[in-house]
């Protein structure tokens, strides 16, 4: 690996039985929480988190410290912390590793965060499919409660904190923070109109901070190391701080979750961490950088940033996959860092088919409240299906663009944008494939698993 940094966030992943409180504690768990609750003022913790510049790990990349600053509880209001463990964005599988392998890190982060923002209760919302993550968290919580770390007096400090897990029941949209709050309150997971934002009126009508699992799991290290030192672990400090979890899946030799500093390049992620392309004779064709809602990158496209004041000027003339992976750098690149979990596709993949696969996902998961999203996602799938099955018309490529443009910005939440952006990205980056598919006039004879099917069939084939 390119950085000889000892693992921090994943330090206990390799420790046997790290889900057990005693084992975790021997390896450093709850040290930071004890320090925070017993020797620090809430403002001081908030200051460290601000300095750490943790960009929200759920996909939007909003600085956690700034989000905490939006809280302004009125007299008599009860502040809630809600943890977003609804990990469902296609390609994303990082939060699950924290909940399964090191639940005490998340609990410790919650204790510190609750104290820092003035909350006495926290709900961890976990998607229903992750039954094992919920069991792991519940078991860890029971131990932490028995020890008195969670409850009336954490570490002897008279500041009661209660933590509950709350199970979802299968709905991607519940990862959207206001849909999540509705789901927590026993409603359909339909996003709410904003404003009011959750910090003003969130769970049960009270001021609420919703943070991703990985965001909160970073907090103990921030307290332990100090915000500035933690921030400087990043190659993109101070704007985008620290270390983070990178996921990689698809056509690479070693798919998985890796810890690395913020700002490694996609090339490093694929070829160093991911072990390179699965088949040496099938090179990289495209990569979806941070979950399915982020527009696809193409390695043979070069950065055009001649002007000295262009944010990507330093990388002018280099490949798209040589830009450091950061919230701001990727925005400048016309995509998004999202959840930082890449889906790698080799030359066997037909991009129209890949695109149809993802749009089918969005059609299935649209909550249906807003017409542009509910109908638009369906029309996209229908149009793509026509093309894939050989009935496409020349105007269909433009139709995909038009439908997408009519979805963006016209709905309550960002789901429609998260559907339209990757759709537009696919057409923009691989237009020739869409045009060829339309002109062909017969079904695309491709399977996405063309390059892996032999592995799956193995001897049983």
């Amino acid at each position: 690996m390119s950085d000889d940094q000892k693992p921090i966030l994943t330090a206990r992943y390799g420790v046997a039985n790290a889900t057990d409180l005693e084992v975790a504690e021997k390896h450093g768990a709850y040290r930071a929480a004890r320090k925070a609750l017993l020797s620090m003022q809430p403002e001081a913790i908030r200051e460290e988190v601000k300095k750490a510049s943790i960009r929200g790990r759920g996909g939007a990349g909003f600085p956690a410290g700034v989000k905490w600053g939006f809280l302004a509880p009125k007299e008599g209001e009860r502040v809630y912390l809600v943890i977003n463990g609804d990990e469902s964005e296609p390609g994303t599988f990082k939060d699950r590793t924290i909940m399964n392998k090191d639940p005490h890190r998340l609990i410790e982060g919650i204790l510190i965060a609750c104290y820092a923002i003035g909350a006495h209760a926290c709900y961890i919302y976990v998607r229903g499919e992750l039954a094992h993550s919920i069991k792991s968290l519940d078991a860890a919580l029971a131990q932490a409660r028995a020890k008195g770390y969670v409850g009336e007096k954490p570490f002897g400090k008279p500041y009661p904190i209660e933590i509950y897990t709350h199970t979802g029941a299968g709905a991607y949209i519940c990862g959207e923070e206001t849909a999540l709050l509705n789901s927590l309150e026993g409603r359909r997971g339909e996003p709410r109109l904003k404003p009011p934002f959750p910090a003003i009126k969130g769970a049960f009508g009270q001021p609420t901070i919703v943070n991703n699992v990985e965001t909160i799991a970073a907090v103990p290290d921030v307290v332990e190391m100090g915000g500035e030192s933690w921030c400087n672990l990043s190659r993109l400090a101070p704007a985008d701080g620290g270390i983070r979890l990178y996921g990689i899946s698809g056509h690479v030799k070693r798919p998985g979750v890796y810890e690395a500093p913020v700002g490694i390049t996609m090339r490093e992620l694929i070829y160093d961490y991911g072990g390179g392309m699965l088949h040496d004779d099938r090179p990289l064709k495209g990569v979806i950088p941070g979950g399915s809602s982020t527009p696809v990158l193409r390695p043979d496209l070069k950065i055009d940033a001649k002007k000295a004041d262009h944010p990507l000027h330093k990388w002018h003339g280099m490949s798209e996959i040589d830009v450091p992976m950061g919230v701001d750098t990727y925005r400048a690149l016309g995509t998004m860092l999202g959840t930082c979990c890449a889906i790698v596709m080799d030359t066997s993949v037909n991009m129209v088919e890949a695109c149809r696969n993802l749009m089918r996902f969005y059609k299935h998961e649209s909550c249906g409240q807003c017409t542009p999203c509910r109908e638009g996602s369906g029309w996209l799938v229908d149009t793509l299906t026509e093309i894939c099955e050989g009935r496409g018309k020349p105007e269909d490529v433009h139709r995909l663009v038009e439908i997408s443009n009519n979805m963006m910005g016209n709905t309550i939440c960002a789901f429609a944008d998260g559907t339209a952006m990757p759709m537009l990205g696919f057409v923009q980056k691989f237009r020739e494939e869409f045009v060829a598919a339309v002109e062909k006039g017969r079904p695309l004879e491709v399977r996405h698993d063309d390059s892996t099917i032999a592995l799956v069939r193995g001897r049983a084939a």
Partner: protein, 160 residues
């Protein structure tokens, strides 16, 4: 016949109600408890939950129909979810689904004749790095090959 929870499960509901400032918030977790006992969310379950949480049946039904994991019809003894979203599809999920359809003698959405398995397609189950995968009841089975899948099916057949 009217539905009722076992006393033990009913105590679980009492405990759950202490977690929230109002009864309604317990709706999804209570539906889970009921589905675990009953196998699916029948109209009787909806009536029971509505009464237990002081909600209208319309509200309960609205929630049940929103979430994919609540079964609105009886299912087999085990439910197999095959992830078919992109990362899994790139690693052979289609072959996994085809193999299961052949082995179980039913299409995705159906139940095997012996009533043991219901086969469903799933959207991303957050195991992209371990693709292809299936979820059977509460358990994830990852990095599948057809051979491995056959062994897993056998173990469920033997166990059930």
């Amino acid at each position: 016949m009217a539905f009722a929870l076992t006393p033990e499960r009913d105590r679980e509901v009492d405990e759950l109600l202490t977690h929230y400032p109002n009864k309604r918030a317990a709706l999804i977790p209570v539906l889970w408890i009921c589905q675990r006992q009953n196998g699916w969310v029948s109209p009787e379950v909806i009536d029971f939950v509505a009464t237990r949480l002081d909600l209208s049946t319309a509200i309960v039904k609205g929630v049940v129909t929103f979430y994919t994991m609540f079964f609105q019809h009886p299912v087999g003894s085990h439910v197999i979810w095959v992830c078919r979203t992109l990362s899994c599809d790139l690693r052979g999920a289609k072959a996994i689904q085809e193999h299961l359809e052949e082995k179980l003698g039913c299409h995705a959405g159906g139940t095997s004749k012996d009533g043991k398995f219901t086969l469903l397609k799933a959207e991303c189950l957050a195991a992209c790095g371990q693709a292809p995968m299936v979820q059977i009841d509460d358990d994830y089975h990852e990095n599948l090959t057809l051979e491995k899948l056959d062994r897993i099916l056998e173990s469920y057949r033997a166990g059930a």
